[in-house]
């Protein structure tokens, strides 16, 4: 029974989506969209990733923005404003991704700065020693 039902669901999937598309086209302005679960999950995932990356100060505004957007997206979904919820979820995701990218850039720069600093220190020390010697 279950298997048959599943197959039937699948068979009718495309037809259903096609139907959905038509209905969307017809009722674009006032239709109720399904919950943007994927977009919300993606946003949550992106925020978690940025969180794990130990966000540097430069990325903090982006990460808070991502969290605010996610909260707003959930609120919109709860109010059945699905289109807005999806947009907010997408915005939350890119904001979190930007936070991660900024963290990576800051880390990469910090490593380079440290290398430059140690080179400079070596050079300065050498000049001081040479100066002392002359």
């Amino acid at each position: 029974m279950i298997r048959v039902a599943t197959r039937r669901d699948r068979l009718h999937g495309r037809a259903a989506s096609g139907l959905g598309l038509i209905s969307v086209l017809l009722l674009a302005a006032c239709t109720t969209l399904p919950e943007p679960t994927v977009a919300l999950a993606a946003a949550e995932q992106a925020i978690a990733t940025a969180d794990r990356a130990r966000v540097a100060d430069t990325a903090l505004p982006d990460l808070s923005e991502a969290r605010e957007k996610l909260t707003a997206a959930r609120g919109a979904v709860q109010d059945s404003r699905m289109a807005e919820g999806e947009r907010l979820a997408l915005e939350s995701r890119v904001a979190a991704e930007l936070a991660s990218a900024r963290v990576e850039a800051a880390k990469a720069k910090a490593v380079n700065d440290e290398m430059k600093r140690s080179t400079d220190t070596l050079t300065q020390e050498m000049q001081r020693k040479t100066g002392a010697r002359q």
Binding site: G20, L33, E97, L98, A101, A105
Partner: protein
């Protein structure tokens, strides 16, 4: 799966419907936001340093900017698309900076290695210099030590030699200085003629005075109590003079270093009642002056002279 497909279709539907609906609204000019996005995207695309690292992110950004450039009826959708495009550009930019930094690391680490090597070389040079300086110092110290040692050795040798000379001459250390007694065997009785070679002490005295050219000597002639005082006084003077002129003429001692006095019969060292006593009293004493205190102490006190009687040196 199903949900995603449906939502994608929903989006597509939204887009299509918005295009359809756009027909009945007045065409709005490209938003200023979208224009600004395009400018920034172009900046990044033409940034030769960063663009090459992030082709995919740039593609994403390009699509997002194009979407934002589309005319929208719903200002919320327009704002959304601008937001997405703005973040996509920033993501591409940040990723480009990350990758550029990683790429620069190779050069940086080469520079650091070069600096490190240079520092090490410099350190080694400095260490070498220091070692050389230390060696030079050490060898200088050795030389100084050798010099000091040789000074000491010289002083010791001088003192030892002096002592030896004094011993050889049978001189006596007195308050007046070193007193060397030349016996009357130097002279025939009543005569001031010096019998050269009759007393080895005279040769030793000459040698001593030649060895220590700073020392001066007083030569004193003495007689016994035979004969009158005046004669004895004159005789003692002549004998002292004879010794002096021998030392000056034969041994080449500077006359200024020598003084000769006739003491007559007034300073006997033995009883004049016996021939032996009188013989002891007929004598010439050479008093070698002490040098200034320091030198003297060094020369003499270091090796205290064994007490000797003047007489012990007389009869040889």
């Amino acid at each position: 799966m199903n949900t995603r497909r449906v939502s994608r279709h929903a989006l597509l539907g939204m887009a299509v419907s918005s295009v359809l609906l756009a027909a009945c609204t007045a065409t709005t000019p490209k938003s200023e936001d979208a224009e600004r996005l395009r400018v920034r995207l172009t900046q990044l695309q033409s940034n030769s340093e960063l663009a090459k690292y992030v082709p995919l992110a740039l593609q994403d950004a390009e699509i997002a900017v194009k979407n934002a450039e589309q005319k929208q009826t719903d200002p919320a959708v327009a704002a959304h698309l601008v937001f997405i495009a703005d973040r996509k550009i920033n993501i591409a930019w940040a990723q480009g900076e990350s990758l550029l930094a990683v790429d620069q690391r190779k050069l940086l680490s080469e520079q650091r290695e070069a600096a490190r090597l240079q520092a090490r070389t410099r350190e080694a040079d400095t260490a070498n210099d220091r070692a050389t300086a230390a060696e030079r110092d050490a060898s200088n110290q050795t030389l100084e030590a050798q010099a000091a040692w040789s000074d000491t050795a010289d002083a010791e040798r001088t003192a030892r030699e002096l002592q030896q000379q004094i011993d050889e001459m049978n001189a006596k250390v007195t308050e007046r200085g070193l007193v060397l007694t030349l016996g009357d065997v130097l002279f025939s009785s009543g005569a001031a003629q010096l019998n050269v070679g009759a007393n080895a002490n005279l040769g030793k005295l000459a040698h001593f005075l030649n060895t220590y050219p700073k020392r001066t000597a007083a030569i004193e002639g003495h007689t016994d109590n035979i004969g009158n005082d005046g004669n004895n006084q004159a005789l003692s003077q002549r004998r002292a003079d004879a010794v002096k002129s021998h030392l000056v003429g034969r041994e080449g001692i500077d006359a200024r270093r020598l003084t000769a006095f006739g003491k007559g019969e007034g300073s006997p060292v033995a009883d004049n009642s016996s021939p032996e006593g009188r013989q002891q009293n007929r004598r010439v004493e050479v008093i070698i002056a002490e040098l200034p205190a320091q030198t003297t102490r060094q020369e003499v006190q270091k090796y205290p002279v064994t007490k000797q009687t003047a007489e012990s040196g007389l009869r040889q």
